[in-house]
């Protein structure tokens, strides 16, 4: 299943609800464009909800890293919400788990931007 991205606003935070796979050729480009679009519009608080992301490959990991770096360079904060076990395992294996701010609860994640 390709990646779908739905956007919503919660207390000034843009939450992107991602669903599907973040892989080369399937979701990486959509994610990159969504982040660039938000950064271009001046959004400084971005929360990626990965609760329905079933699969991520090395390209998808790279895209998350690039999104994090791009956001940080533009003065924005990109955080992650609701990692599935598979995504969490891969982030831990690649030592990226400690790079991101990661939350299991949306309210706590939203509050963290205050």
């Amino acid at each position: 299943m390709a990646l779908t991205i739905a956007s919503r606003e919660v207390d000034g935070v843009t939450v992107l609800d991602l669903s599907g796979r973040i892989t080369l050729g399937e979701g990486s480009v959509q994610l990159r464009e969504a982040i660039r679009d938000l950064i271009g519009k001046g959004q400084k608080m971005i929360l990626l909800n990965l609760g329905d992301v079933s699969y991520i490959d090395s390209s998808g990991l790279g895209e998350l890293v690039s999104a994090f770096t791009t956001s940080k360079n533009q003065g924005a904060a990109l955080k992650l919400l609701n990692l599935t076990k598979k995504v969490k395992d891969v982030l831990q294996l690649t030592k990226l788990y400690t790079v991101f701010d990661i939350y299991d609860d949306e309210a706590t994640a939203i509050a963290s931007y205050k």
Binding site: D57, T69, V90, L93, V99
Partner: protein, 146 residues
Amino acid sequence: MDKSGAGRLQFSLNSTMESVGEVEATADKLAAEAGLDEEERFRLTMAVREAAVNAVLHGNDYDPQKLVTASFENTGKSLVITIADQGEGLDPQSIPDPLAPENLMRGTGRGIFLIRSFMDEVHFRQLHPGTELTLVKHLASPKEKT
């Protein structure tokens, strides 16, 4: 798609992302038929996908004149998958460690690391031209599974 040998499936595929999907789906079917649990299936299919992406993208550079060859076999003791490209060749020693602090925030370079992490054995062979990766997943004996 060709079948060659008892229980060994071999493909020759174009250098496209569709081929990567086909290789990944075949690996998942092989893993399911071998009785791997969901987590092991995920790990095996991810490793095979990464190898196929490397062959299509980094090896053959999407060249329509170059093929990717993939074979799948359940030997009873192991699942053995080979992925070969016709590119310029890959020196596995030259790949930077993606866990090193200076590489941690790079956008690329984690594919081979994931393959090595998820498989029991990984072998590289230079084909002149091209690179062949052999990925091996050992199967637990019935006694070990219980």
